[in-house]
């Protein structure tokens, strides 16, 4: 039964040709804009979270609190120390905890000077642990091993000549870091992360000598015993550190984060931006809906006689109402469908672009729910826009309508 109304509505829309098209175009553009922006936003979030994914999904990270401009540990009021590390290692739900230090430095090669970050690699069991967690492998040369001194492993982009040195750095070459000479023994494989593809890795001892940070620890990476219960380990660490550093709950001068929580924080910001932009774009959908009201109002006016005839041959007010209501909904649906399709395509292509730019390796996805809701939404919006005109149609007096 309903399908009859749909087919009649379809005919009517087709008959009105360009005006139906223009109305459709309005909704089409609006929905396309919103879907494209939301998809791009999601793509961006994916790309960003991929950066996190690279640094392992099972590790808990502990850093000192306070403002930090730059890599963790730089510029904090109360830094973490080896004591904190040892305390954490003693926790029962902690399987392993290692020390990591990161500092910014200057690197000179091929008569060019660039600035970037160096990260320490611990020794022994801790080294094995780190390599496993990061799934670190080299595409050239080898990884650092215990006893290496004056040697570094560089991130992929050094090899791919994307760090601004104008010449790729190969294994065996020498670079100057903080004015000291280091030999490159390996190049890491592409991680797809902005940080790790540009990093300089050196053994702890070298790093300490070069940067002189004493017992300060920038990051403590913790592997919990039960990887399905990260939160419990997190709580344990927090409790222990609170005791040791003598701080109260809610006033910690340190931060313990699981991969989800740091990601969640960033996502909150990205979400906010995404929503803001979507709202601005939605204004155009609203305007498109106004177009539907306009078109339907005109339609009713033009078809007064027709409405009278239909009433004469037995259509009830309700049936007339439904007819026009469905026409309006159909306008919304078709426009929304085309718009969602194009918008999703734009989002898809855009996400690939973002990937290429960041160097991430994310699979762009088309969100089924986004499309479903835009379709549903445009259908409903069309209907909503059509309510008043449809009511108007239903109210037509058949006598006057057919008057010769």
């Amino acid at each position: 039964m309903i399908s009859d109304y749909f087919s009649i509505a379809f005919k009517n829309l087709k008959h009105r040709g360009i005006r139906s098209w223009l109305t459709l175009l309005g909704i089409f553009i609006g929905v396309m804009a919103v879907v494209a922006l939301m998809s791009l936003g999601s793509g961006l979030k994916l790309a960003v979270s991929s950066q996190f994914g690279v640094s392992a999904t099972e590790l808990i990270t502990v850093q000192a609190g306070g403002l930090s401009y730059g890599p963790p540990g730089s510029y904090v009021a109360n830094p973490l120390t080896i004591d904190d590390l040892e305390t954490i290692q003693k926790i029962s739900s902690v399987k392993q905890a290692i020390r990591r230090n990161m500092d910014s430095g200057k690197l000179e090669y091929n008569n060019h000077l660039i600035f970037g970050y160096a990260a320490s690699v611990p020794s022994g069991e801790d080294r094995k642990f780190l390599y496993e967690q990061l799934e670190l492998e080299t595409i050239e040369g080898r990884l650092l091993k215990d006893g290496d001194s004056g040697k570094v492993v560089l991130g992929y982009n050094f090899y791919a000549n994307k760090v601004g040195l104008e010449k790729p750095v190969l294994v065996g070459k020498k670079v100057l870091i903080q004015d000291e000479e280091f030999e490159v023994v390996g190049i890491a494989d592409k991680q797809g992360s902005l940080i790790y593809d540009n990093i300089v890795l050196m053994n702890e001892a070298d790093m300490k000598n070069l940067f002189n940070y004493g017992d300060v620890v920038d990051i403590i990476s913790v592997q919990p015993r039960d990887k399905n219960n990260l939160d419990k380990t997190k709580e344990d660490i927090e409790k222990v550190l609170r005791d040791k550093r003598d701080v109260e709950i809610g006033k910690e001068d340190f931060q313990v984060s699981t991969p989800e929580s740091s990601l969640a924080q960033i996502n909150k910001i990205l979400n906010g931006i995404q929503i803001f932009i979507a709202i601005v774009a939605s204004i155009s959908i609203l305007v498109g809906a106004i177009g539907i009201v306009n078109t339907m109002t005109t339609s009713v006016l033009e078809r007064r006689r027709e409405i009278g005839i239909m009433k004469a041959i037995g259509a009830t007010n309700f049936q007339i109402f439904i007819q026009f209501f469905i026409e309006a909904s159909l306008l919304g649906l078709i426009g929304g469908f085309l718009g969602a399709l194009c918008g999703a395509s734009i989002g898809f292509v855009g996400t690939m672009g973002i990937n290429a730019w960041i160097g991430a390796q994310v699979q762009p996805a088309i969100s089924f729910w986004l499309i479903f809701f835009s379709l549903l939404g445009s259908f409903l919006l069309g209907g909503l826009a059509g309510i008043l005109p449809a009511l108007d149609a239903a109210k037509q007096n058949p006598v006057e309508a057919i008057r010769e």
């Binding site: 109305t23 609190g65 106004i290």
Partner: protein, 399 residues
């Protein structure tokens, strides 16, 4: 025919009230959106522009490349460097600034805030910063152990539950400092929660080797570029670096502000682009309305032509109608936009983002109205042309 045709157009618009209203409403929304964003955009430009007052035209900033010096233990700008800068030809005065992270405790609550240490003996600091004291006084030399706080500290609940008052003792990095003044609100939460001490006190709060975050130099207004070069040369030599391999850079204030402006440009342009989509859609609505209008008046147009209207007359009538709709929409849109920015600005100021002020000028109003009118006109062009080409014989026969 001119006056009557205007009457004719106006009456047509009035006659088809609902449809005219809907069309106007479409354009109105689009214009209001654009008005709001341009207004706030202008406001931001102004804010940035204010940073670049005339008194900063002759100032240069020296800071380290890579990392953020003073925050990062690996780069040093110290008194030796300060001396070198001072000695550079064209430099009239120079001073160093520290920016650090501070643990601030008050009434059993602890937060981390940004701390700025400067040399109160140097007037050029005050010139550059543009903030004024709201209550109490500025720091002066010898004010070891004293602190000036940003605006928000004196409001209970904004930073700490209990407000801080003049002459209170507040704990910073474990030491108690006396509050001697509060600055005026800058308009953003970060600056309004900053704490200020004098340079000499830095080593007490932060034992160890402290490096300047920035060195600010005042140059002879006519010699700014030369002074910049001289500073660079001097520092390269004193830090034993090679040319092209500096670990610092020297910028004029203007340069710095430029880079903020261009970043802002992109953001605002992007947002306006999105708002333009609404305008596009409303243009489509207007075209739709005009086409309908032409179809409805098919016979009427035939009659007009039969009584002597030229094609150009018909064209003008329809063009005028759509432009007029656009014009009305523009005026109303601008009013709605104005109200929107006013309310928005008030809300933002309330939540501490006072620097996001809307800005108005004649061109904003005029431009939006003109743009709306133009949109109306353009959307109406094709329908108007169609109308003008109608064959009167066919039209008159039409039932």
């Amino acid at each position: 025919m001119k006056d009557e045709s205007i009457q004719y157009s106006l009456r047509n618009i009035k006659h088809r009230k609902t449809r005219s209203f809907l069309t106007v409403f479409s354009i109105l929304i689009g214009i209001a959106t654009i008005f709001i964003f341009i207004s706030f955009g202008y406001g931001l430009y102004n804010y940035i522009g204010q940073l670049s007052s005339s008194s900063s035209a002759n100032k240069l900033i020296i800071q380290s490349k890579g990392g953020i010096s003073g925050l990062d233990e690996n780069f040093n700008l110290d008194d030796d460097d300060l001396a070198v800068v001072n000695r550079a030809a064209g430099v009239m005065d120079a001073t160093g600034l520290y920016v650090k992270s501070a643990e601030v405790v008050w009434n059993n609550e602890r937060i981390y805030a940004s701390l700025l240490a400067f040399d109160p003996k140097k007037p050029l600091m005050i010139e550059v910063s543009n903030i004024e004291i709201a209550s109490g006084r500025e720091l002066s030399s010898g004010d070891s152990g004293k602190v000036v706080l940003g605006y928000n500290y004196q409001i209970s609940g904004k930073i700490f539950k209990k407000e801080v008052k003049l002459n209170d003792n507040i704990e910073i990095q474990g030491k108690k400092l006396k509050v001697v003044g509060f600055y005026n609100s800058v308009g953003n939460p970060a600056d309004d929660s900053q704490v200020y001490i004098i340079n000499d006190y830095v080593n007490i709060l932060y034992p160890g080797n402290n490096s300047y975050t920035w060195i600010i130099a005042e140059a002879d207004l006519k010699e700014v570029v030369k002074a910049k070069e001289n500073i660079e040369k001097g520092l390269i030599k004193s830090r034993n670096l090679e040319e092209g391999k500096e670990d610092f850079y020297v910028q004029s204030f203007e340069d710095m502000i430029e880079s903020y402006s261009s970043a802002l440009d992109i953001v605002i342009a992007f947002i306006i682009l999105i708002a333009l989509i609404s305008v596009l859609v409303s243009a489509i609505n207007t075209a739709n309305t005009m086409i309908t209008s032409v179809i409805e008046r098919y016979k009427e147009i035939g009659i007009l032509k039969a009584i002597g209207a030229k094609n150009s007359e018909i064209l003008k009538i329809f063009l005028f109608e759509s432009s007029f709709l656009g014009f009305i929409a523009g005026c109303m849109g601008v009013i709605v936009g104005f109200v929107g920015t006013y309310i928005g600005g008030a809300i933002l100021a309330n939540v501490g983002f006072g620097f996001l002020k809307p800005y108005y000028n004649f061109w904003l109003f005029f431009g939006c109205i003109a743009f709306a009118t133009l949109t109306g006109a353009i959307s109406g062009v094709l329908p108007a042309i169609r109308a003008s080409k109608i064959n009167p014989v066919d039209a008159l026969r039409y039932e």
